[in-house]
C-alpha cells in the first residue's frame, strides 16, 4: 500500500513529506529527479518509476509533483486516483492547490493526510466526511479559534462514515433549497489539413450543486437517454434503476459533486462547431514564411461561439512573427515559440483572421514539422451531443426545491493539423 508521500515543487524542492508506515529517506526522490531530468519537460515524467527497493508513483498537478513511495504490489491506478483525490481535497480546502497554500496550512494538510490514509489504506476521502472531521480554514474561524481557543478538529464520528450512504451527512438544513445541474461537454477532435475530421468525440459531465435539506431522493430523467451508452457514475446513483429505466435515481451528497461523466463515442457523428482556414508556409532557402489563418463557425446550432483562443507551437527555427489581426490580440513568445491568439467571439459577418510574416533563423533549414493549432472555444446554452434533461423529481422531503439546468459546450483537446 502507499508507504510515503513527498510533495515536490517545480524547482525540485521537497517541501512536505508524510509517512504512513516507517520513514523512508528523502533520498529515494533522487530516482525521481533523475527521471525528471531525463524527461526534460515536466509533463513527460513517467508516472511509474521503479527503484531498487521501491516503486515511485507520481502525478503532476498544478505545478506540483505528488510522489508516492510503494513497497509492495499495489494497483498503480489506485495510487494515482488517490493522489488526485489528495490534490482535489487541497483544492477544496484551500481554494488552490499550490505550494504556498499547502505551506500556509501545513498542519491541516498533515491532519488531512493522516485522516485520508491509515497504514496505506484509504480511510476517508469523501470531502464532506473530511470536512466534518477537520474544518476547512476560513478567516472568520481562525479569528474565532484564536479568541476562544477552540479547535478546528471535529470530535464526533462523522455520520456518513458508516452508513450505507457515506457521501451524505445527516441533519443538513437549508433555508433556500436548491438543486443545480451543469451539463458540460467538451469536444476532443483532430481535424486534418483538409478540414475533415480524423477523430472526434464528446466527453461530457454533469456536475451538480445540491443544497437540499434532509434526505432528498432525486430522479433525473433525460429526453434522449440513449445517447448515454458509456457512463461513469457517482457511487450515489442506483445502477439497477439506470439499467432498467434509464433514469438517474440517487440520494445526493451535500454540495458540489460530479454526478456522472460520459462519453459520446466516435462512432456517432460529432458536430464540429468551428472551422479554420489556414495556410502556413516556409520558403526554401529564405529566412521568412507566411502565416494566415481564418476562423469561422460551422455546425454551431445557431448559438454564438465565444472565448475563442488559438494556440500554436511554432517550429524552433522561428525567430519572430509580424502579424496583423482583424479581431482580438495575439502574442508570440520567442522563447517557448508559442503563438497565442485571443480571438473572443465570432461574428459571422466578418470572420476573424490573423496573417503576416514569420521570421526564421537565417541559414537554418526549412522546418519539417507543421505546427498544430490548438483551439479553445465555448458555447453557452448548448450540449453539442444533443443531450437534454427532461425533468427532476424529488421524493422523501416535503418542501419544493428550486431547480435549474445549465448547458455549456467547450473545446477539449481540439487540434487542427496544418
Amino acid at each position: 500500500m502507499i508507504h510515503s508521500l513527498f510533495l515536490i515543487n517545480c524547482s525540485g524542492d521537497i517541501f512536505l513529506e508524510k509517512h504512513w508506515k516507517s520513514v523512508v529517506s528523502q533520498s529515494v526522490c533522487d530516482y525521481f529527479f533523475e527521471a525528471q531530468e531525463k524527461a526534460a519537460d515536466v509533463e513527460n515524467v513517467p508516472p511509474v518509476i521503479s527503484t531498487p527497493h521501491h516503486y515511485l508513483i507520481s502525478i503532476y498537478r498544478d505545478k506540483l509533483f505528488f510522489v508516492s513511495v510503494i513497497q509492495t504490489e499495489v494497483p498503480p491506478l489506485f495510487v494515482i486516483e488517490f493522489l488526485h483525490r489528495v490534490a482535489d481535497t487541497f483544492q477544496d480546502y484551500f481554494g488552490e492547490c499550490s505550494e504556498a497554500a499547502i505551506k500556509d496550512n501545513v498542519v491541516i494538510v498533515y491532519e488531512l493526510l493522516e485522516e485520508m490514509l491509515d497504514n496505506g489504506f484509504p480511510l476517508a476521502t469523501e470531502s464532506n466526511i473530511l470536512k466534518e472531521l477537520i474544518k476547512p480554514p476560513t478567516i472568520l474561524r481562525s479569528v474565532v479559534n484564536s479568541i476562544t481557543g477552540s479547535s478546528n478538529v471535529g470530535d464526533t464520528l462523522p455520520t456518513g462514515q458508516l452508513s450505507n450512504i457515506p457521501w451524505r451527512r445527516a441533519g443538513v438544513k437549508y433555508t433556500n433549497n436548491e438543486a443545480y445541474f451543469d451539463v458540460v461537454e467538451e469536444i476532443d477532435a483532430i481535424i486534418d489539413k483538409s478540414g475533415s475530421t480524423v477523430f472526434a468525440e464528446i466527453q461530457g459531465v454533469i456536475d451538480a450543486c445540491i443544497k437540499l435539506s434532509g434526505m432528498p431522493d432525486l430522479s433525473l430523467s433525460f429526453m434522449n437517454p440513449r445517447l448515454l451508452d458509456d457512463v461513469s457514475f457517482h457511487p450515489c446513483i442506483r445502477f439497477k434503476r439506470w439499467e432498467s429505466e434509464r433514469v438517474l435515481s440517487f440520494i445526493p451528497p451535500d454540495g458540489n459533486f460530479r454526478l456522472i461523466s460520459y462519453r459520446v463515442s466516435s462512432q456517432n457523428l460529432v458536430a464540429i462547431p468551428v472551422y479554420v482556414k489556414h495556410s502556413i508556409s516556409f520558403k526554401e532557402n529564405s529566412s521568412c514564411g507566411r502565416f494566415d489563418i481564418t476562423i469561422g463557425p460551422k455546425q454551431n446550432m445557431g448559438k454564438t461561439i465565444e472565448g475563442i483562443t488559438v494556440t500554436v507551437h511554432m517550429p524552433k527555427v522561428v525567430l519572430n512573427m509580424n502579424l496583423t489581426t482583424t479581431q482580438g490580440s495575439y502574442t508570440f513568445d520567442p522563447v517557448t515559440k508559442v503563438l497565442t491568439w485571443d480571438v473572443g467571439k465570432i461574428t459571422p459577418q466578418k470572420l476573424p483572421s490573423l496573417k503576416g510574416l514569420v521570421n526564421l533563423q537565417s541559414g537554418a533549414p526549412k522546418p519539417e514539422e507543421n505546427p498544430s493549432l490548438n483551439i479553445q472555444f465555448k458555447i453557452q446554452q448548448l450540449a453539442i451531443s444533443g443531450l437534454k434533461v427532461n425533468r427532476l423529481d424529488m421524493y422523501g422531503e416535503k418542501y419544493k426545491p428550486f431547480k435549474g439546468v445549465k448547458y455549456v459546450t467547450k473545446a477539449g483537446k481540439f487540434q487542427v493539423r496544418t
Binding site: V23, V106, S151, L157, V198, E368, Q415
Partner: protein
C-alpha cells in the same frame, strides 16, 4: 493567520524555545508549540529531542492537540522506544473511551508505533476493538492487525488475530468487510503459501454483497481478492461476472480496471458460444476507452493494461482504433503507448487510417516518437500483407524528406520488409543507396549493409559500396562489423571473380586485427568454409532465411495469460510477472520449494539468451551458427547410446538395473550431459552416473546435492571426479547413497530432484528412482507375523494388479523376486494355482505384503500395505536419525502407498524382476 509562521523559526535556539513553550501552562501556547513542532517535522527537520515534552501534552481532552501529539509519536517513537512506553497508558485508557472516534484513533495510532515493547500492550485493546460494537472501530482495528503483523508476525498468529480477522469477512458492515479483506490480502502477500483468504462460494457471496455497498477503495480490495478465486464451473463464473459488471461504470478508474481484471480472468471459463460471452465482450470496450479520457498518468497505466488486453482478446477493441490516435499535447509516455496499441489493432479494415496517422506522426517534433512512428509503419507492412505496398511507398516518401533520423529508421524497417516479402520491393534499393552517406547510426548502417549483401547480384556497384564501409572497419560498432563481414562473404559467393581481394581483406581484418571473439570466430568459420568447400559455404551462407513474422513483438502466450491475472497491478505496467516464485516453465527442470544451491533462476533464464541474440534482429547468423551445432550433437548422443547398452548388459546379475537414461541433456546444462541409473547391491544403494562433457571448455569442481525426498535419499559421499573433465570426455561414477537425509513427500513418491554444480553453473534435473532399491535385505517376515498382519490390514489398503505374459513357474518367480529383496514367506497350492506370499520392507521400515497367484502364464498379485496403526511395530527396524523424521516418512509413504503411481511402480518392480520390459504399463 496561516501556518507559514511556523516555518519562520529557523534560528539556533529554536529547539530550546519550543521546549519552553511546550511546557507552558497555557493550553493555547502548548498547542501552538506542538503545531510548530509538527511543521518542522514535515519538512524533515529533526525535532526528536522534544520527545518527552511533546508526550507530556498527550493527556488532554482537546482532540486536535491529541491528534497532533499522536502524529508526532508515530514519527519518532521508533527512535525513542523507551520514551514511547510513557504513552502506553494513555493509549490503553483511550481505547476504553465512550467516544468511538477516540477509541479508533487510539488503536490506529498504537499500530503505527513500530516499537516491539508497545506491541505487547497493544494486544488486549486490539482484541477488544476487533469486537467493538461500533463498526468504525472494528474497521480501524482490522487494519491494525495488518500493521501489527508487519511488526511482529508471530505475535499476531499466536494471539489468534488472524482468525478474528477472517471472521470479520462475515461482518454485517461492508466497510468492515472491505478492510478485513485488505488487511488479509496484505498479510497474505508476505506469506504467499499461507491460505489466509480461503475463498469458497459462501465467502465469495459475502464479498459480492459487500462489493455493492462499500467505498470505492473497499471495492478495489474486494475485486482484487475476487480475482484470486477460481470458480468451480462456468455457471458460477458467469454469476460472479454478472455481479461484477456494474463496477465497470464506476467513476474511480482503479475500480474499473480491477473489475476488468476479474472479468477477463473469469471469461476464460465461459464458453464462447454463450450469448453472455458476447454481451460481456461488448460491455468491456466502453469502460476501457473511457479510461483514456482521464488524467495522463491514469491513461498511461490504462494503456499498458490495454496493451495486454488487445493481445489476449483483440476483438474487444477492434472498432475503437480512433481513440488511440495520438494527440498533439499528449505526454510522450502516453504517445508511445498509444502507438504500440495502434499497431496491435491494425488490420486490413483500418490500415488506411492508421497509415495516414503514422505518416502524420513522422513529421512531429519529438525524435523518439517520430522514430517509433516510422518503425510502426514497417510493422504494419509486416502485419497486414495487403498494406505492404502502401507502407513501402509511405516509407519512401519519408526518405525523401531527408530528415536524418527518419531516413535511418526507415532503412531499418525496410530491411525487415525485405525479409518478410522477398523479391517484391527490391526496386527501392536504388533510392536507399542514395542515402548511404547520411547513415551514422550503427543499426541503420548494419541494415543497409545487409541489404547490399543480400541483393549484391542486383546492385552493380555493390563491391564499391561495401568497400567504402571497409575503410573505417575498426571504428564501426560490432553490429556493423559482423554485418559487413557477412555481407562481403555473400557478395563474394555471388560474384567471386571481382571480389576476391575484398573478401581476403575483410577476413583478415576480422580474424587478425580484431579482439572481438564473436567477430573473430565468425571470420574463421567463413574462412574455413570458403577454403575447404565453397559449395557448402554457398549453401550455408546463402541459405533461405526463415520469414520474419509480426508475432515477434507479441508477449509469449503463457506469460500473457499470467499477466492477464495481474491486470491493474505493477506487474501489468512492466509486463513482467511479480518477482516472487521462479518461472517454472521447462518440464524437465522441476524444482521444489527449496533451491538447493541457489542460482536456479539464473540458469533457467540464461538458456534462451544466446539463441535470442541469433534469431532476433541480427538474422544473418542462423545459417552460420547452425553448422557447429549440427556437427556436434548427433555423434555425441550416438556414443552415449552405445555406453548405455554396455552398462545395461554388464550388471544384470543381482537385482534388476535399468539401463542408463539421459537425465540431463547437454543442451540444458551448457554442455554437461548426465545419464545414470540406480542400483542396490548387498545392502547399499548407489547412483551410477555418467558425466559427459560436450562443451568446448574443461569442466571442474563437480558437486551434487539432492532435494529433500520421500525416503530421505542423500549422497553418502561427495561426488568424486578426480581429474578435470576435458571436452568430449566421459567419466563413470558410482555415487553411494544413504537414506538418512531429510524427508519430504514428493509427487510422485519416487521423484528425486538433483542439483549438479560445476565450474560453469548449477544445473537441476529430476528423475524417478525404482522403488526396489529401497527394499532391504531383512525383508522376510516371520510366518506368524505375516498371518496376523495380513488379516489386520484393512481392505482400503489393498491394491491388485495382473502381470501378463510371464512364462515363469513359482520357483523361478520366487528366486527372481528374491534377488530384488522381495521374499517368499509361504507358498501353497490352491486348486491348481500356486499362491506365493511375499513380503518386503522399505528402508524407512514400512512393510509391504503381497499375495501372488500364479496361473500358468497369468500371475496376478494382491498387494497389501499395513495400516498406519501398525506403525509402532515396524519402528524398531528403522535406520534413521530421529523419531520425528521417521514418523513423517512413514506417514508420507503410507499415505502415498496406495496411490496409483506407487502401485504402478511396484508392479514395475515385479515386472522388472522378471526381466519383462514393460513397453507401456497398463493402468
Amino acid at each position: 493567520m496561516t501556518d507559514s509562521k511556523y516555518f519562520t523559526t529557523t534560528k539556533k535556539g529554536e529547539i530550546f524555545e519550543l521546549k519552553a513553550e511546550l511546557n507552558s501552562d497555557k493550553k493555547e501556547k502548548k498547542k501552538e508549540a506542538v503545531k510548530k513542532v509538527i511543521a518542522s517535522m514535515t519538512v524533515g527537520k529533526d525535532v526528536s529531542a522534544l520527545f518527552p515534552d511533546v508526550v507530556n501534552c498527550m493527556q488532554t481532552d482537546n482532540l486536535e492537540l491529541k491528534k497532533l501529539v499522536y502524529l508526532y509519536l508515530m514519527n519518532y517513537a521508533k527512535s525513542q522506544p523507551d520514551m514511547a512506553i510513557m504513552a502506553v497508558n494513555t493509549f490503553v485508557k483511550d481505547c476504553e473511551d465512550p467516544n468511538p472516534l477516540i477509541r479508533a484513533l487510539a488503536v490506529r495510532t498504537m499500530g503505527c508505533i513500530r516499537v516491539d515493547k508497545i506491541t505487547e500492550y497493544l494486544c488486549e485493546p486490539l482484541r477488544k476493538c476487533l469486537k467493538d460494537e461500533d463498526p468504525y472501530v472494528r474497521k480501524t482495528a482490522a487494519v491494525c492487525v495488518a500493521k501489527l503483523h508487519d511488526i511482529n508476525a508471530q505475535l499476531v498468529e499466536d494471539q489468534g488475530f488472524l482468525d478474528t480477522l477472517k471472521d470479520l469477512i462475515s461482518d454485517s458492515n461492508p466497510m468492515v468487510v472491505a478492510n478485513a479483506v485488505a488487511a488479509l490480502s496484505e498479510i497474505a502477500e508476505s506469506h504467499p503459501s499461507s491460505n489466509l483468504l480461503d475463498l469458497n462460494p459462501q465467502s465469495i457471496n459475502k464479498l459480492l454483497t459487500a462489493l455493492n455497498e462499500c467505498t470505492e477503495w473497499g471495492q478495489i480490495f474486494i475485486l482484487d481478492c475476487l480475482a484470486n478465486y477460481t470458480p468451480k464451473d462456468d455457471r458460477e463464473a458467469q454469476s460472479i461476472c454478472e455481479r461484477v459488471t456494474p463496477r465497470l461504470s464506476h467513476a474511480n478508474s482503479a475500480v474499473v480496471l480491477s473489475a476488468v481484471k476479474v472479468l477477463m480472468k473469469f471469461m476464460e471459463m465461459l464458453s464462447k458460444d454463450l450469448d453472455y460471452y458476447g454481451t460481456l465482450l461488448k460491455k468491456l470496450a466502453p469502460p476501457l476507452v473511457t479510461l483514456l479520457s482521464a488524467e495522463p498518468e491514469l491513461q498511461y497505466v490504462a494503456l499498458r493494461n490495454i496493451n495486454l488486453i488487445v493481445q489476449k482478446r483483440p476483438e474487444i477493441l477492434k472498432h475503437e482504433m480512433k481513440v488511440f490516435f495520438v494527440k498533439y499535447n499528449d505526454p510522450i509516455y502516453v504517445k508511445l503507448e498509444k502507438l504500440d496499441i495502434m499497431i496491435r489493432l491494425a488490420s486490413q479494415a483500418n490500415i488506411a487510417q492508421v497509415l495516414a496517422e503514422l505518416k502524420e506522426y513522422a513529421t512531429e517534433v519529438d525524435v523518439d516518437f517520430v522514430r517509433k512512428a516510422v518503425r510502426a509503419i514497417g510493422r504494419c507492412a509486416i502485419k497486414v500483407e495487403q498494406s505492404a505496398e502502401r507502407c513501402v511507398s509511405t516509407l519512401l516518401d519519408l526518405i525523401q524528406t531527408k530528415v536524418n533520423y527518419v531516413v535511418q529508421e526507415a532503412i531499418v524497417v525496410i530491411k525487415d520488409i525485405f525479409r518478410k516479402y522477398p523479391n517484391k520491393y527490391e526496386s527501392v534499393i536504388a533510392t536507399l543507396c542514395e542515402n548511404l552517406d547520411s547513415l551514422d547510426e550503427p543499426e541503420a548502417r548494419a541494415a543497409m549493409i545487409w541489404i547490399v549483401g543480400e541483393y549484391a547480384e542486383r546492385i552493380d556497384n555493390a563491391d564499391e559500396l561495401l568497400e567504402s564501409f571497409l575503410e573505417g572497419f575498426h571504428d564501426e560498432s560490432t553490429q556493423v562489423q559482423l554485418q559487413l563481414l557477412t555481407g562481403i562473404v555473400k557478395l563474394f559467393l555471388k560474384k567471386p571473380t571481382e571480389t576476391q581481394e575484398l573478401v581476403q581483406q575483410v577476413l583478415s581484418l576480422a580474424t587478425q586485427d580484431s579482439d572481438n571473439p564473436d567477430l573473430r570466430d565468425r571470420g574463421y568459420i567463413y574462412w574455413r568454409l570458403l577454403s575447404t568447400d565453397p559449395v557448402a559455404a554457398k549453401e550455408v551462407v546463402l541459405a533461405e532465411k526463415p520469414l520474419i513474422s509480426e508475432e515477434t513483438d507479441l508477449i509469449e502466450p503463457t506469460l500473457l495469460d499470467e499477466l492477464i491475472c495481474y491486470i491493474g497491478t505493477l506487474a501489468s505496467v512492466y509486463h513482467k510477472p511479480p518477482m516472487s516464485g521462479p518461472p517454472l516453465t521447462t518440464s524437465s527442470v522441476q524444482m521444489g520449494a527449496v533451491d538447493l544451491l541457489g542460482g536456479g533462476l539464473d540458469s533457467l533464464v540464461c538458456h534462451g539468451c544466446p539463441l535470442d541474440d541469433i534469431g532476433g534482429t541480427n538474422f544473418v547468423a542462423p545459417p552460420t551458427a547452425a553448422v557447429p551445432a549440427s556437427l556436434g550433437a548427433p555423434i555425441g548422443s550416438g556414443l552415449s547410446d552405445l555406453f548405455d547398452l554396455t552398462s545395461g548388459v554388464g550388471t544384470l546379475s543381482g537385482s534388476y538395473v535399468a539401463p542408463k537414461a539421459v537425465w540431463l541433456p547437454a543442451m540444458k546444462a551448457k554442455g554437461l550431459e548426465i545419464s545414470g541409473t540406480f542400483t542396490r547391491q548387498v545392502g547399499s544403494i548407489s547412483m551410477d552416473l555418467q558425466l559427459t562433457n560436450k562443451a568446448l571448455q574443461v569442466m571442474t569442481d563437480f558437486a551434487i546435492q539432492f532435494n529433500r525426498n520421500s525416503f530421505g535419499l542423500a549422497p553418502a559421499a561427495p561426488l568424486q571426479v578426480h581429474a578435470p573433465l576435458s571436452p568430449n570426455q566421459t567419466v563413470e561414477i558410482s555415487l553411494p547413497l544413504s537414506t538418512v537425509g531429510s524427508v519430504m513427500k514428493m509427487e510422485p513418491l519416487n521423484n528425486l530432484q538433483v542439483a549438479v554444480k560445476n565450474n560453469i553453473d548449477v544445473f537441476y534435473f529430476s528423475t524417478l528412482y525404482p522403488l526396489h532399491i529401497l527394499f532391504v535385505e531383512d525383508g522376510k517376515m516371520d510366518r506368524q507375523m505375516f498371518l496376523a498382519t495380513w488379516k489386520d490390514i484393512p481392505n482400503e489398503n489393498e491394491a491388485q494388479f495382473q502381470i501378463r505374459d510371464c512364462p515363469l513357474n513359482a520357483e523361478a518367480v520366487s528366486s527372481k523376486l528374491q534377488s530384488s529383496n522381495i521374499f517368499t514367506v509361504a507358498k501353497r497350492n490352491v486348486e491348481g494355482q500356486d499362491m506365493l506370499y511375499q513380503s518386503l520392507k522399505l528402508t524407512n521400515g514400512i512393510w509391504v505384503l503381497a499375495e501372488l497367484r500364479i496361473q500358468p502364464g497369468n500371475p496376478s498379485c494382491t498387494v497389501r500395505a499395513p495400516a498406519p496403526t501398525l506403525r509402532p511395530w515396524s519402528l524398531p527396524f528403522v535406520p534413521c536419525q530421529g523419531v520425528v523424521l521417521v514418523e513423517d516418512a512413514v506417514q508420507a509413504s503410507l499415505q502415498a502407498w496406495l496411490e496409483p503411481e506407487s502401485v504402478r511402480s511396484l508392479k514395475r518392480t515385479f515386472l522388472e524382476s522378471f526381466h519383462i520390459h514393460p513397453v507401456r504399463l497398463p493402468r
